[in-house]
């Protein structure tokens, strides 16, 4: 299921806190460094590991959601670059496959910005892409994987993304 989508670099800035998603490539020799620990402890950044594939003494990848003030995020990213981590900003966009969605509502309990919400009159589960920050929390919560994300140009479900 590969559908070409427009790339979109919309920023998500709320309460002066950046929430952004990065694709990190770790060289072999960083895998034993407490990278995440440093980010949280020394740079006061909130991180959410969305996807990780790291083995000792091998090149690893990680998709990280980073939350924090602009200056902290900047410093944190500088630290990562310093130790040799390759950083790529993901303009993650999310959409719903309405054929797959069976309107259960499970996703509305995890969406932090109510981009997935219930219209109370008829209990319809709606998705507002304009509100979505691309945090991707709904992707694995949806029991039928109706939420798809695009990391660049391809749309895919989380299952397809993780088996790549």
């Amino acid at each position: 299921m590969v559908i070409i989508a427009k790339t979109n670099n919309r920023k998500s800035v709320r309460d002066n806190v950046y929430t952004r998603i990065y694709f990190l490539k770790f060289p072999k020799d960083t895998s034993d460094k407490p990278v995440i620990f440093s980010l949280i402890k020394e740079h006061d950044i909130e991180v959410n590991i969305l996807r990780a594939d790291i083995l000792p003494q091998r090149e690893g990848i990680m998709i990280l959601e980073i939350k924090g003030s602009k200056s902290n995020v900047k410093k944190g990213l500088a630290y990562l670059e310093e130790i040799g981590v390759n950083i790529e900003r993901l303009a993650a966009r999310v959409r719903r496959d309405d054929d797959k969605c069976f309107q259960c509502g499970a996703c509305t309990g995890v969406c932090p910005v109510d981009a997935l919400y219930i219209r109370r009159e008829d209990m319809a589960v709606l998705f507002d892409p304009d509100k979505c920050t691309g945090c991707s929390q709904c992707l694995l919560i949806c029991p039928v994987r109706a939420m798809e994300m695009s990391l660049g140009k391809e749309w895919m479900s989380i299952d397809a993304a993780s088996s790549k």
């Binding site: 069976f102 309107q103 509502g105 299952d159």
Partner: protein, 391 residues
């Protein structure tokens, strides 16, 4: 209790259906009709109330006969798309359970596990007409010489496929929260630490057994909507517990009645039978179920008229209590409150999220209503009602 058929009989209803003048309404419509007109008028006017539910239901699966081959085989281990099925039946019969994960699934080793593919997905893929890899092993006998089998099959190739859910249509279910310090992943979804979200899994006033709380019309042989086809109630379900505490309107306040249901898988549709992956918990199957409730008596009309404000459930801690068998609900809440989007627990407003689709439940009730109206669905009188509460 004895005057059960004091308004109309099954025969009378079916004759009206044939004549095209039966009055059929959905359970949601019935709630407003009873509110507006009063129960007596409603009971006189309405012949049948249709219900529906569409949610993950773990105790689901299918009996699949895979057909013989030459030389013949008595399959003792069977896999569909690497999902193990139970082969300890007859030579080429197997039971594929919806919650069985694919054999190479990492389960919860990478926590929380994703459970990408399981028995429920195989059933959905069969319905989508997709080819399925069938593998089997056998020990070989004089009458069944073959020892293994590997081929692609589709639903069409199977001589027999029966959806058989030993437990379905739960009459009421818990509302789940988590008051521990860590996030838990349960069959009730992801529950954040410290009472920060709540989930529930019932369509409320649309749900079949909420509309017939004492099982006065539902029993063995009740014809139902199942997975997009016509199926039947064949027994009471596993964990059927009629003797629980009930509200003053007679409706259970905790999980209680359940149904065993069956239907021909080949007649069903993937629109109403969906494999699901519940993060950190496992695989399951969401099945569309709808039951017509004949308004045989005033009492039944009264029950179908009960709305979400008068249907209650218990808020249960799934962080500790549920796993440890502690029965100490945090609160009792109504489905009206649950559907409003937040409930109050220990003085705190908590966001609620459903796991059961009201939109699809309503669609099922509407389909059933249309099918009865146009005569393609006749009501059946059960041979034996499922067990009710002792009195």
């Amino acid at each position: 209790m004895d005057q059960i058929n004091n308004i109309r009989t099954y025969d009378e209803i079916n004759q009206k259906i044939k004549a095209g003048n039966a009055v059929i309404v959905t359970a949601e419509e019935m709630v407003s009709i009873v509110r507006d007109k009063g129960v007596e008028k409603a009971a006189k006017h309405v012949d049948v109330v249709t219900t529906g539910t569409f949610a993950p239901m773990c105790s689901s699966g299918a009996f699949l006969n895979i057909g013989q081959m030459i030389p013949t085989i008595k399959t003792s281990k069977v896999w569909f798309n690497k999902v193990p099925a139970y082969g300890g039946l007859a030579a080429v019969d197997a039971y594929l359970g919806a919650t069985e994960p694919s054999e190479d699934d990492p389960l919860n080793k990478v926590y929380p596990g994703e459970f990408k593919y399981g028995g429920g997905h195989v059933i959905e893929d069969l319905l989508r007409g997709k080819p399925i890899l069938l593998e089997a092993k056998a020990y070989g006998t004089d009458c069944y010489a073959a020892r293994k089998l590997k081929k692609e099959i589709t639903l069409e190739d199977l001589p027999y496929a029966l959806l058989c859910n030993p437990r379905n249509g739960y009459q009421n279910y818990n509302c789940a929260v988590n008051r521990t310090e860590r996030t838990v992943y349960t069959y009730m979804g992801m529950l954040k630490a410290g009472l920060r979200n709540a989930t529930y899994c019932s369509a409320g006033e649309l749900s079949p057994l909420f509309n017939d709380p004492f099982y006065k019309t539902i029993g063995i042989g009740t014809r139902i909507f199942l997975g997009g086809a016509q199926g039947y109630v064949t027994w009471h379900g596993t964990q059927h517990r009629p003797n629980v505490q009930r509200s003053d309107r007679g409706v259970p306040l905790t999980p209680s009645g359940t149904l065993m249901v069956q239907g021909d898988l080949k007649e069903m549709s993937h629109d109403w039978v969906k494999g699901v992956s519940i993060l950190g918990y496992g695989n399951s199957l969401a099945v569309g179920l709808g039951i017509p409730i004949p308004i045989l008596s005033l009492e039944i009309a009264e029950s179908t008229g009960i709305g979400d404000e008068e249907l209650f459930t218990q808020v249960v801690d799934y962080g500790h209590d549920y796993t440890n068998g502690v029965s100490d609900p945090l609160a009792q809440v109504s489905y009206a409150e649950l559907k409003s989007g937040s409930i109050e627990i220990e003085g705190k407003q908590i966001k609620t999220a459903p796991l059961s689709s009201v939109v699809k439940a309503r669609q099922i009730a509407e389909i059933l209503k249309k099918d009865i109206e146009n005569g393609t669905f006749q009501l059946s009188e059960p041979v034996k009602l499922i067990p009710g509460p002792n009195q």
